[in-house]
């Protein structure tokens, strides 16, 4: 199979061959593995992806059970969200809420030095699995469809990584949470029955939504704002998939959106690319956390006293 470099070409191939994006990216992976002299059977690829999926499942479970970050700054928010979902949920139960619970859980596990699967990075590891684990309930996805979800996400991430960036140090948080959100949007649209055209529209819409997002980790820890930004990535992805499934089209083609993302990353000052020298990382409170971490190795975050806001 000839390696192509644009989504326009990928869509054309998929339409000619009547493939989904997951088919395309699976064949591309087989092709690559064959050239590398590795086992290029679909079974080998699906098996490897199955291991990643299992890590995602166990991370979500662990996070909902309640974990605290190693620094002490964050933790137990997935437990809180999960209780809120089952007890109150005044805004209604939805795929959005289900996906957020998973996404926060998985990223809290990352901060607690637990086992995660980077998607595409550790800081953004909650977005894709967060949506997948919620969508499989809502859409009744088979195991194979769940693996296809990850293959489509991975394939879209490959394109973004090669044409723009998936590293916060290179492209800011748009490259991490933004990329994850775009990957998940495309996979969700496909899982819900969308065409490759619709999926790549979802990808473009999601990337545009988070274009310019800066990387400003407080005390250089992958916790604030990272963990809650995984939820941002989730809602942005689901909304983008819904719009694309409704037939809305990105006015700027997906390939051009990705190159715009690349140039935004290049224009971004280094203070806003993972160096913790700007944005939230420089707020007075963040500086206090940084000092405390340096002096004691821990950060104590005190919850506001009084009863939790009730409804």
């Amino acid at each position: 199979m000839r390696r192509v470099t644009t989504f326009a070409q990928i869509i054309r191939t998929c339409e000619e061959e009547n493939w989904k994006l997951a088919d395309y990216f699976l064949y591309q992976e087989m092709d690559w593995r064959q050239r590398e002299g590795e086992d290029s059977s679909p079974e080998a690829i699906l098996e490897k992806m199955e291991i990643n999926l299992q890590v995602m499942e166990s991370a979500a479970k662990e996070g909902i059970g309640g974990v605290q970050s190693y620094s002490g700054l964050t933790g137990y928010d997935a437990t809180r969200l999960n209780a809120y979902r089952s007890e109150k949920a005044p805004l209604g139960k939805s795929i959005y809420l289900d996906a957020i619970v998973n996404a926060i859980a998985i990223n809290e596990v990352n901060a607690s030095m637990g086992l995660i699967c980077a998607t595409p990075t550790a800081g953004s590891c909650g977005v894709v699995p967060g949506i997948l684990l919620a969508a499989r309930e809502h859409l009744k996805l088979t195991r194979r469809q769940q693996l296809d979800f990850l293959i489509t996400s991975g394939g879209c991430g490959l394109m973004i990584g090669n044409l723009a960036s998936i590293s916060g140090a290179e492209g800011g948080c748009q490259a991490e949470i933004g990329s994850a959100s775009g990957m998940a949007a495309a996979a969700l649209a496909e899982a819900a029955g969308g065409t490759p055209q619709a999926s790549t529209n979802a990808l473009a819409i999601a990337l545009k939504g988070l274009l310019g997002l800066v990387c400003d980790p407080v005390a250089s820890l992958v916790e604030v704002p990272c963990i809650k930004r995984n939820a941002t990535g989730v809602v942005n992805a689901i909304a983008s998939a819904e719009m694309a499934l409704a037939g809305m089209q990105s006015r700027i083609p997906t390939d051009e959106v990705i190159s715009a993302m690349h140039s935004v990353g290049q224009l971004m000052p280094s203070a806003l690319r993972e160096t913790a020298l700007g944005g939230l990382a420089l707020t007075p409170t963040a500086r206090r956390y940084t000092r405390e971490l340096k002096q004691t190795g821990k950060i104590t975050w005190k919850e506001r006293k009084g009863p939790l806001p009730s409804i």
Binding site: Y70, G114, C117, P120, G154, G157, A169, E274, L293
Partner: protein
């Protein structure tokens, strides 16, 4: 040139959080040190330099390095309990920080002792889980975990280096990088050989049979470990 080739460069690797340079990189420095020492040390002194000195606590870099010294992989959730495991294993750990300026901010020195034997290793976490070793037992080296690397301790005698490269050549392995350092003329020297493909055990045995070879250490493990390491190195994941 495409940076990423496989979907597993994006969905993966499976790793211990929270960040590849503070966790995976530090585990690998620990694993490399352990491989070089050849066994679990009785006493370890870890010195953190630069930004490692400031941030190691909250990031769990100490746990990761100790985990590596105990032989835990970058995907082993027990890394969280590394201090307890060290105690159980009977490995005493002392952590110190140094204000000394180093070339790279994420530098750690590991000094391992058992009985009268002491070996030191200095490593750098260069990002994305990748490491460089810059010092091994007083020898200045440049080991990068991109290629399979073997370390050969040998007596500094004429002809040893030529004999070793001949063996490797006979097995049709291509040497991509080679470095020889010695502290004193005629005494112990260290030869570092990086190859394009991994060196099979049979070849290693043949090298070990060369006269004046004292010890061979194969560092390929650390590169492979645990899965998808290549991706981890290309990615430069968060921090």
């Amino acid at each position: 040139m495409a940076k990423f080739h496989s979907i597993f460069d994006i969905i993966g690797p499976v790793m211990i959080g929270p960040s590849s340079s503070h966790t995976a990189g530090a585990v690998r420095i620990g694993l490399a040190s352990r491989a070089i020492f050849g066994e679990t040390p009785e006493n370890v002194q870890i010195t953190f330099f630069g930004s490692f000195a400031h941030t190691y606590k909250g990031h769990g870099t100490d746990l990761a390095l100790i985990g590596g010294l105990l032989g835990l992989s970058t995907a082993n959730p027990d890394i969280r309990y590394a201090y307890d495991l060290a105690k159980e294993t009977g490995m005493k750990v002392k952590i110190v920080t140094s204000q000394e300026k180093m070339k790279h901010p994420n530098t750690a020195e590991v000094r391992m002792t058992k009985g009268s034997r002491t070996v030191s290793v200095t490593g750098i976490s260069t990002g994305g889980g990748s490491i460089d070793l810059v010092e091994i037992d007083g020898f200045n080296v440049h080991v990068h975990n991109d290629n399979p690397v073997i370390l050969i301790f040998h007596m500094d005698r004429p002809g040893v280096i030529a004999s070793v490269t001949r063996v490797i050549g006979q097995h049709r392995l291509n040497i991509s990088q080679m470095e020889v350092s010695r502290k004193t003329k005629g005494k112990l020297a260290l030869m570092l050989i990086a190859t394009d493909g991994e060196i099979p055990d049979a070849t290693l045995e043949e090298i070990a049979a060369v006269k004046h070879i004292v010890q061979i250490i194969d560092l390929s493990e650390i590169r492979r470990e645990p899965n998808g390491t290549k991706a981890l190195m290309a990615k430069g994941a968060a921090q």
